[in-house]
Symmetry: C2
Subunit: 133 residues, 2 copies
């Protein structure tokens, strides 16, 4: 496989990482996500890593990179489904996944993204009200 | 990898197939999906195959099996993201994916599942009204 599929669900993009990421795959994922965020004006990126038994420093950095890129494009990144052993290893490796928000499962992650979208919509509505008065 | 992750989103379950399925993986997926459908009382199963460049008769049969099992448990199965070349091959192989509904992308597939859930909710509400009168 040369590309990890990205699913669009509403204003969120969903990625399930199932295979060990090598350099080229990680770069392709960063590129594809960037393109799709802009194309769909996505507000959130949900990354499921429940299939990963190991998260090494390379994957950790890739996730942090994606979160930073998404942030610049005004989208939140939520990593979900981390296994307990992976969380322990991350801390032992001294990786903090800075800038990456986490949630226990896809449903809670999606709720976090939806909250953010609702807050944005309210802000836009308030702006329009002010403009109209 | 020994298991394909299954994400729960509302009353739907979402599966992204990214790797070539062998016998054991297909059986594990059928088992896991069955367990999760019952556990969460899921009404729909969304299977994304956009990463698959080839759908052979084995994968076709696995998808049809999953759809049949889900049907027995009162859940709809929608296969999304099929590549044009895959659709051509399926027809050439004489595989009709009987019982499997398809949609162009995850968003439309999710809409199909949501329609079904809404229809169910309406039916339940109508039943309750009749019971109350």
């Amino acid at each position: 496989m040369d590309r990890i599929p990205i699913l669009k669900l509403g204003e969120a993009l969903l990625v399930t990482i199932q295979v060990d990421m090598h350099d080229r795959l990680a770069m392709a994922l960063e590129e594809d996500l960037t393109t799709r965020i802009v194309e769909h004006a996505a507000k959130g990126v949900l990354i499921d890593i429940s299939a990963l038994e190991i998260v090494d420093s390379f994957i950790g950095r890739t996730l942090a990179n994606i979160a930073m890129i998404a942030k610049v494009l005004d989208a939140d990144t939520v990593v979900v489904g981390m296994r307990p052993a992976v969380a322990i290893t991350l801390v032992e490796l001294g990786l903090s996944l800075s800038g990456v928000r986490t949630a226990l499962n896809a449903e809670r992650g999606m709720a976090m993204i939806r909250n953010r979208i609702d807050a944005d919509d309210l802000a836009v509505a308030a702006d329009e009200d002010e403009g109209g008065s």
